[in-house]
């Protein structure tokens, strides 16, 4: 019997505590497998390749009552919460990107989220980030020791001749004493610690986008995984507080972007606006803090719905500019928009224009963004007006043109409360009489003297008060059973959870005679399938 509790998540990756006997292991971690799992020393003739078919597996698979419990792509049942699952021979999975992605999806969807996952003989400094990022918790030194026996020197960048130990590229104790095996082990341990440190910051993806470059197969794995949007979406936090660094072509395919845009298309509505002005993005976030957007807003003067066209996000209505990752992303700027980028963005904008009909759409864009707008308008069958007449949206001339183009249009203001609620909860509420108070980062929303929501300044999301929750019709709720919460809600206490809930979502907890507001620490799916760990971090409890 063992226990596993996840403490931090970042996509599929987790940091947790695995306890077996009197050993407590902070994951992700390199273990001595035989020391931690003595039973592994005595499983003779038990090999079942990952690639074996169902018939063979059914006939020859040997169950184990001892940790770690073996699992197989065609047979991943039999694992309980708290177990360590050993995915035997995982090192042979790394060369086939498509099946690697298949199997990761299979294991993560079927294994209990609070079972630890051990990938034997797989971890090298160069692939450890990928292993951690695809949900593995336990590793060993077999692969690096093997490289040492082959006279090879392992680094996060790849595998090099053993003579590199004398090149000064590393200063670990192994390199100091000239012991190759020691260096390789140290490099692995350091890399896993680095991955762990970054996953706690929510920056593992950025590491992955660097590290996968040591191996074409890893790049392909990343791309295959990124194409599994539904799977990833369920396992990705709703927001992070760290920058979203879109520095590679693969960044365009991050599920956070897809989710943001899907919600813009499907949840967000443009209210009563019937004139839209498409604006370029700004390096400064939120956009409206930038010099250029101050000028745009002056020229628009509230007479059109401001919608920002940007890479890699696509479409950001002004109301949503604070929401992750709109206020968090950063991209290299060279002025060149590549064709894949333009194609993806055109798709987003065309979809937006189809789902959000306007009487007039004015493009105040230049360069790639302008091309995107033209293609999207043509795709959506929409007449596009253009107000950027000299390729410089902030020029006096263009601003005047924009100002004049809106002559006679009615003034309104952007309803950031309604927009955010739509995006976040998928509901439209009447915001009449609501006021945003507070100038600093901690903005609050009142109706009369009653506080309904506050903005989380780090994510742009709303935190409803009980009164705020009462305006929403039962979405994002977690039902608990059989106890009155004293502190945070643990996973086993959850009886039911709105399947829409993602890690980081604001939720309303309710049970017999009690309600609580708080933040989900795991997705609804994980709440359902876990027996350990904090499901909801409670902010306020109310007995009724």
């Amino acid at each position: 019997m063992s226990r596993f509790e996840v403490r931090h998540r970042d996509g599929l990756a987790r940091h947790g505590i695995y306890t077996i006997g009197d050993r407590t292991i902070e994951t992700p971690c390199v273990i001595d497998p035989i020391a931690v799992f003595p039973d592994l020393a005595s499983r003779p003739f038990s090999n079942i390749p990952l690639q074996a078919d169902e018939a063979f597996v059914k006939e020859w698979f040997e169950k184990s009552g001892e940790e770690p419990i073996p699992v197989h792509p065609v047979l991943s049942e039999g694992i309980s919460s708290g177990d360590a699952a050993i995915i035997s021979c995982w090192h042979t999975a790394l060369t086939n990107p498509r099946t690697y992605a298949d199997w990761v999806e299979q294991f993560i969807s079927t294994l209990p989220p609070d079972a630890a996952r051990y990938a034997p003989a797989s971890a090298l400094p160069s692939n450890a980030a990928m292993l951690v990022a695809t949900g593995f918790d336990l590793f060993d030194t077999i692969a690096v020791d093997l490289r040492a026996s082959q006279g090879l020197f392992c680094t996060p960048e790849g595998v090099y001749p053993g003579s590199w130990i004398d090149e000064g590229v590393c200063s670990c104790p192994g390199c100091q004493s000239g012991e190759l095996r020691e260096h390789n082990r140290q490099a692995l341990v350091s890399e896993i610690r680095l991955a762990a440190a970054l996953l706690k910051r929510g920056e593992l993806r950025e590491l992955l986008e660097m590290r996968c470059r040591s191996d074409a197969a890893m790049v392909a794995i990343l791309r295959h995984l990124d194409s599994r949007k539904a799977f990833l979406e369920g396992n990705t936090p709703i927001a992070r507080t760290t920058p979203f660094r879109a520095y590679t072509a693969e960044s365009m395919n991050r599920v956070e972007i897809d989710r943001f845009e899907k919600r813009v298309m499907n949840r967000f509505s443009q209210d009563r606006w019937d004139v839209c002005v498409l604006l370029p993005c700004a390096a400064r976030k939120p956009y409206s803090f930038s010099q250029s957007h101050k000028k745009f807003q002056e020229a628009v003067a509230g007479r059109a719905h401001e919608v920002i066209v940007t890479s890699p996000l696509g479409v950001v209505p002004r109301e949503l500019e604070l929401i992750y990752p709109a206020a968090h992303y950063d991209v290299p700027v060279t002025g060149y928009w590549d064709r894949e980028e333009m194609h993806i963005l055109t798709g987003y904008l065309a979809e937006y224009l189809r789902t959000h009909p306007y009487r007039r759409v004015i493009s105040h864009l230049e360069g790639g963004a302008s091309s995107v707008a033209r293609s999207a308008a043509s795709e959506a069958g929409i007449q596009l007006e253009e107000s950027c007449i000299d390729g410089r949206p902030t020029s006096r001339e263009s601003l005047n043109q924009l100002y004049d183009a809106l002559a006679g249009e009615r003034k309104r203001s952007h309803d950031i409360i309604s927009g955010t609620i739509q995006w976040q909860f998928g509901e439209t509420i009447d915001t009449k009489g609501m006021l945003i108070k507070g100038k600093g980062p901690e903005k609050k929303i009142y109706r009369g003297r009653q506080q309904l929501f506050s903005f989380d300044p780090k994510t742009g999301l709303l935190r409803p008060t009980f009164e705020g929750w009462s305006l929403l019709s039962g979405c994002y709720q977690v039902r608990i059973e059989g106890f009155v919460p004293q502190g945070d809600i643990l996973a086993p206490g959850v009886a039911e959870a709105d399947p829409a809930i993602r890690e980081g979502d604001e939720v309303l907890v309710y049970g017999e005679g009690v309600r609580a507001t708080g933040r989900a620490m795991m997705s609804a799916d994980e709440m359902r399938r876990s027996s350990r760990g904090v499901a909801v971090k409670v902010r306020k409890v109310k007995r009724s």
Binding site: R43, F45, N47, P49, Q51, A52, S88, C89, P120, L146
Partner: protein, 328 residues
Amino acid sequence: MVSRTVEKPLASWMGEDRIEGEVRRTLTIILKSGGCRWNRCRMCGYRFERYHTMDKNELTERMLSQINWIEGNYRSIDYDAVKIFTSGSFFDQDEVPLEVRDRLGKLIRGKIVIAESRAEYIVSPEISSFLDLIDCGDHEMPLYVAIGLETTDDRIREKCIDKGMTFGDFVRAAKTADEADVGVKSYLMMKPLFLTEKEAIADMKTSIREAAPYSDLMSMNLCTVQKRTDLEYYWKRGAYRPPYLWSALDVLLSTDENVSCDPVGGGFARGPHNCGECDREIKKAIDAYSLSYDRSLLEAVFDTECACKEEWRYVLEHEMPWCMPLTR
């Protein structure tokens, strides 16, 4: 009836083998036959080299044509012994019609004959009548049945090879042969699927010990990856590695039995191999050993250090059923 094209055996060649303490000039023949009736072994690539859906008459005709070709292409005085392979069982009449067997028997009468067969076809009248056909009294043991025992471990044979036979079946067949004054040659298979390098070595050592009492000759095959086999499926996906030549040396050096070994495909990715640097020398040594049983030949190459020996030692110690193969 189809046109009478000349049929050649799948392969045939002249070589040398040590039989009864002497190096004999051997003719090896691989006949295209009706095919192995079992036909399920995971590493067997001969499954596809057979006549398909053909009536017995036609099969007979074609196989006789092969015998004719042999007669026309090899002179009897050039060889002392004949090894017959059919990719199945020479003594299964469905595979090798009686007429063909008899015709071949007559052709090679007076030679030492080693004929391959699964154990279930080693039955008394069949082997005795063939023995009678070829025996002219020149040899103490004119006929050997060669049985693919592969391993003496039934569980390994079933899981890793799917041979459809037990060690008991083999022992029974060996007794049948013995009673008919027919010799037994046992074929063992070094490192079928699903075994670690270390398990494979241990299995061979045990198998040699256990098979020896029932064997007049013993030969160890080092597993190779043949096309369109289960084994190839796994090998292509990185789930199988052929044995190291170091392992073959280790096994051969560990026993006092005389076990021959022909490291087919040695040094290639699909065959038994080390790192590519040392393979040639080791293969040569094993070849020479199989004709002389001079252990010092093996010892000499085993003691030669190569960079890959460290890797092999690591694999022996650390490759486990749950993390294999560690190398390619």
